[in-house]
Symmetry: C2
Subunit: 766 residues, 2 copies
């Protein structure tokens, strides 16, 4: 793979079919509602064309898992040149480049292609998913003849309802319509969740300044326009295509009939069609400019890759987040692929939410609100598992679904017996992670109103879950948590995973603390909540149990055991598996049962704690544990590298930190051609931002106060950005030697471990 980048664009410089899926993912476009893979206009056998719309979850078959369905396609163009299909696999590609603008989300592709018969064309493909209009996708294609002889073009495009999720079809074909011979409409309904989708397209073409006629045709699951064009030398044929996607999952369409949706979508496509590509691009660009104006991180680095990697992360966090609807959340692959089925994991709460908390707290609020709206499902899950309160789903989809991790993963390929999937039942730390996200949001924003209305309920109900989950060990007179999976997924069925026990304890303590503060300071709120959730007895129990929750004690060398058995596992030489640009290399030599008996971690586990809670470990303990666990961690999860990068910085290992940061950036932007096939790595992208802001800029929250402790890597000269903290805008400008902070109102900060009050611009030496 080769690609170049300026500070704002990523360029694919040559066509390679082996890299189609990677670029489809990393060049994906979207607006938080629509996610569109950047499959090329012309089709290829090895492509994975895909479009996903947030919240449209469906189960294609009863024995499958709910997932985001692959929508009807509007992007494909079949172009025939003198009867030959345009494809970069045959003929000669004289020029090729495809550029993603991170600034405006537009992708432009320039191709000069000579057909096998020798006809030469210059083609420009442009495309964006509108940032200003949630329902709009716009495309423009320019085709210029470079041949001496006139040539015949045939161009076919429209709506293709044959798309599926690797063979599983989610949509029935409901209707195909043509209006005014100019607008195509295709209606489909998801087979189980009954989501109606109305896809609409309009095309307008020009040749020599004259509008050019088309014809339409339809077949099973498709409705198409066709242009038949005679193209003289040097002449350029231009076709613009606008697509409008509506569904019953849109907030405004919840109780609207399919007829009305179709009617409104038709009115909308007519309106959109009137303005054209340039006009909509202008609006899209304005929206992006506003976004970057607020959220850009300006980095000066010796390696411009760092600049692009951080912007790439922010670009993708922006297009993956359904800001418009708190019934929807962020998926592990964003909206860029079928991987992880569009489900939300702890990635969202721990690795992506911070970006929004710091930059657009109103979006963070919507994401936390999603967890509130999912409480019913979490309570259902607790009950189903024999516990009380709210047990958050390990995998979360539609708000009412509850746990969507399947219990069976089909038949075991060797034995034919049903294969158990245990993460849904065992990876219970998610419940505390959700509360951490809520708390993080609260501490950074001071949004007490949200806590009163929704947050406390989440805290109390999760604490209630943990209390019912604790297991009393009479021999030692303590409470423990056995037979679970911690963050490190290479260790299944472990007891007293330190991360999980600590987070459970923290979650319970948070409930107690909040209960008592409320009682003292807000008796009204207190009484209301106490009644609604019958807290009295629960808090009593909490106080009793919390004292006796078992936590791993640091050894003499300060190492904190990941769980009861980790430290006594067998060591092997991990060098062959470390620092590779692909994940899971150890699987070539060991199966999961064997791996679980080795002292090797997939990802950060114990060391996530000091990332979440600044100064939780003293200096020595931190250093000991980061060093110890990094040596045993293969970073086979994309959630690992950024945590270690930040913690390495905290222990003064800046070079190691930077190297881990680079490795994190390469997960999606590196040379590995297939790591992103199923979609980008959302948590890793959040982590990249975390390394920059919470790591090198050192801006972290502790007990509701902002701590600033920047240390730039050797290659970086400067980083500047602004964040929100408690409704205030704080501007940071950091060089190797100087930290400059600017605020409008007075604000208490901890800068390099010293409390300071900042107002206006203040400089500090580093």
């Amino acid at each position: 793979m080769t690609f170049n980048h300026s500070n704002w664009t990523i360029k694919e410089t040559s066509f390679n079919i082996d890299h189609l899926a990677k670029f489809e993912s990393i060049f994906a476009q979207g607006n938080g509602r629509i996610g569109l893979r950047n499959a090329l206009e012309e089709a290829y056998v090895t492509e994975t064309r895909g479009m996903f719309v947030a919240g449209t979850f469906n189960k294609a078959f009863t024995n499958e898992v709910t997932e985001l369905p692959n929508f009807m396609d509007v992007t494909r163009f079949d172009i025939y040149v003198d009867g030959e299909l345009f494809s970069l696999l045959h003929g000669t590609v004289h020029e090729y480049e495809r550029i993603l603008s991170l600034k405006h989300g537009e992708v432009i592709r320039h191709v000069t292609w000579e057909s096998p018969k020798g006809t030469t064309l210059k083609l420009t493909f442009r495309r964006f998913v509108s940032s200003s209009e949630r329902d709009l996708i716009a495309q423009r294609i320019n085709i210029q003849s470079l041949s001496e002889k006139p040539l015949q073009l045939k161009i076919k495009t429209g709506i293709d309802g044959t798309m599926h999720n690797h063979g599983s079809q989610h949509f029935t074909e409901e209707s195909k319509r043509v209006y005014d011979e100019s607008f195509l409409q295709y209606g489909g309904t998801t087979s189980q969740s009954n989501v109606y989708v109305s896809a609409n397209v309009a095309c307008r073409a020009h040749l020599n300044g004259e509008e050019f006629d088309k014809r339409f045709s339809f077949a099973r699951r498709e409705i198409m326009f066709t242009y038949d064009v005679s193209l003289e030398k040097k002449a350029t044929f231009v076709v613009e295509k606008m697509s409008i996607i509506h569904s019953t999952r849109d907030g405004e369409n919840q109780d609207v009939s399919t007829e009305t949706i179709d009617h409104n979508a038709y009115q909308r496509i007519k309106m959109v069609y009137d303005e054209g590509y340039d006009e909509w691009l202008k609006k899209n660009n304005q929206t992006w400019d506003m976004f970057w104006g607020k959220n850009d991180i300006r980095i000066e680095s010796e390696d411009p890759f760092d600049v692009i990697a951080v912007r790439f992360a922010i670009y993708h966090m922006n297009i993956m987040t359904p800001k418009h609807d708190s019934r929807m959340s962020i998926a592990a692959k964003g909206l860029t692929g079928e991987g992880y089925k569009g489900h939300t994991f702890w990635d969202k709460d721990i690795f992506i939410l911070p970006f929004w908390i710091y930059h657009q707290p109103e979006v963070a609020k919507s994401l936390v609100e999603y967890r509130y709206q999912s409480l019913l499902g979490a309570k259902k899950k607790a009950t189903e598992n024999g516990y009380e309160g709210a047990m958050y789903p390990w995998e979360s989809a539609w708000i009412n679904d509850g746990e969507v991790t399947p219990e069976e993963g089909g038949t075991d390929i060797y034995t034919g017996k049903p294969e158990r999937i245990i993460t849904g039942k065992k990876e219970i730390h998610i419940t505390a992670d959700v509360i951490y996200g809520l708390w993080h949001y609260w501490k950074m924003t001071g949004d007490d109103a949200f806590m009163h209305q929704k947050g406390y309920e989440m805290v109390f109900e999760t604490a209630r879950f943990w209390l019912s989950r604790l297991e009393y060990n009479p021999e030692n007179d303590f409470y423990e948590i056995n037979d679970i999976i911690g963050p490190d997924e290479y260790k299944e069925h472990v007891n007293n995973n330190h991360y999980t026990n600590y987070m459970a304890k923290w979650n319970i303590e948070l409930a107690i603390r909040n209960y008592e503060i409320l009682k003292e300071t807000l008796p009204n709120v207190y009484e209301q909540l106490s009644d609604r959730f019958s807290l009295e007895h629960m808090i009593e129990e909490a106080k009793e149990k919390v004292k006796k929750i078992f936590l791993q004690e640091p050894r003499e060398d300060n190492i904190i055991a990941q769980d009861d058995t980790y430290l006594s596992l067998k060591e092997i030489d991990l060098h062959p598996y470390k620092n590779l640009d692909r994940a899971g290399a150890i699987m070539d030599d060991y199966n999961i049962t064997q791996i679980s008996k080795l002292k090797v971690s997939k990802q950060a586990d114990v060391v996530v704690l000091p990332f979440l809670f600044k100064d939780l470990f003293d200096e020595e303990t931190l250093k000991a544990n980061v060093d110890y666990y990094e040596a045993h961690t293969l970073h086979d999860s994309s959630l690992s590298l950024s945590t270690y990068a930040i913690m390495s910085k905290e222990i003064g290992k800046l070079q190691q930190s930077y190297s881990l940061f680079k490795q994190a950036c390469r997960i999606d932007l590196g040379p590995q051609p297939h790591s992103s096939d199923m979609g980008i790595h959302a948590a890793s992208l959040g982590g990249i931002w975390e390394v920059a802001i919470m790591g090198y800029a050192g801006v972290r929250q502790k007990d509701g106060r902002l701590n600033i402790d920047p240390v730039l890597p050797e290659q970086w000269n400067r980083i500047s950005f602004a964040i929100w903290f408690r409704n205030q805008r704080i501007y940071f400008d950091i060089t190797k030697t100087k930290l400059s902070i600017k605020t409008e109102q007075k604000i208490d900060l901890i800068v390099q471990a010293e409390p300071v009050i900042v107002q206006g611009k203040m400089d500090f030496d580093i």
Copy 2:
């Protein structure tokens, strides 16, 4: 398109992606149970890969129509050469040919290909669907390196369960298994009809005489083998793949658990694997040799295309016919494509059944038996439509389904209103066509036992339908049949379509005649039937009504009106639409409502009658009507040309006949690249055989006696073949001047209108 042919093979001489679907259809392979399109091993965007198994009908969604599902694919091979995907679209194709052997059903493809990087390979692909084993598909690929440097091959193949019918997925994914690291198994169940399918593959590879190891992998809906091969110069890598397909629709598996099916299929693939490609090919060839030994039509023609066209027709009739199971019938596209959804129409009874009656009466019996087994559905259809007796479905699928023509064809693309499909209710001649097929079988075989057990019931129940369908016209005191569609589908809602009225009358008369003969000659059978079907009253009614059924009277010029209004319709110049190699050209200028007001026919209608009933029209009437209607017919149905070809011969217009015959042959074998995309034209292929045997050789049945009246077209010198008639084998050898007939036992024939008794060999001058 270019293809050559010897007397037994058809060769595609160059690769052209625009012709992929055509060759997939015409080079399709099968054994009456499995039908496999000849999609190339390497995938192309414009391909339509497909495999169908007789009888496995399913409705993918409740608003769709039951159809034969596209099965999991076993044919695809992804081949990478030094990392580049093998595809004839790129690199250089130095040699290419693909040959279908009509004799043995094997397809062999030779390719010499130079990769874009300059690596040259010689590849040979061989494939057959076993004629001796109903469940077996065999493939062999030889890859020889022609490059100086060693090269790296990666070959991936297995079972791909992502296949679908143009976007509609019929199968759930049930299980994926690997046995002994050598056998892959994929289980799927159809979503509505609950047919369980077990697909099984085994691969064996050799390099330099040594068996070569593979690895396996699996993903959603797929399970695969991969070979990683280093290939030295001149070395050849050979991989054989065997596939076994079982399902609960197999007669022996009707009440068998899916576990047992899987187990048996696994035992079977192990057994198959032991013998290998050559061994199974030998058995396949023997079975084909036996088939051709009995059924070949040897033609000597100036144009060898005629020879191939007739053999092509017989080849396809053989692979499309589910001889093994009378619960299954012949689809309009055989098992070669998604067109017409695998449904059976009157094509089977009128155009394809005769081949089997003449050549393998036991197969014909199974096909007639299918109609008997479908009686329940036909009765249900009659009741649903407010009639009595049995009203056969216009489109027939699984025996219990009844009518499967949808009543609504989705929404009207212009209005959004539901689109009515009326053929299911209106094209009622099918009921008499079914009985004609039964009668034809009976008259040619003399299989009275079948009639006693099943046939009479069909005759009586259909007569009962017609009696309830007749409409009394008090003004004229006759019975008529209004508002129907006759064979000519360009005319909807017509009254008194001559074909339909005549066939209805014939069907009723047949019931009366049989009833009376039975009463006289077989009182036992008579009583039994009479009781079971309470015939007395019905036959009374039949005798009353049949006398008064209105039939169109010949005009003064002997023209018989196609229906009440046809002769008064507007004439237009049809020359622009005639003798084209594509169907439906008139649709470019007129819509169906306009066409129904023009004096133009899609296909043979009135003239089908004298084809079904020899000498029904006197010479003058025949000539007048064939001439008149041929001039008004566009042959836009593949059922038309052969009928006119035979009738043109009967009226002495041999050149016109031959020209129509050629045109019929070109429907699938002509240059039109897309006419066969959705599958071959089964009825047309049956028609080609009919022209040769019932037309030029002039072997037709009349009142249970065989009439022989051969006239060879100018270009033909000879035709020889054997048929069955009433359990006797009759051999024909016909030249322009001589007819030679050979039988073993004594047999009464009508030869050139003269009754003769033949035993041994007898020659006649022509």
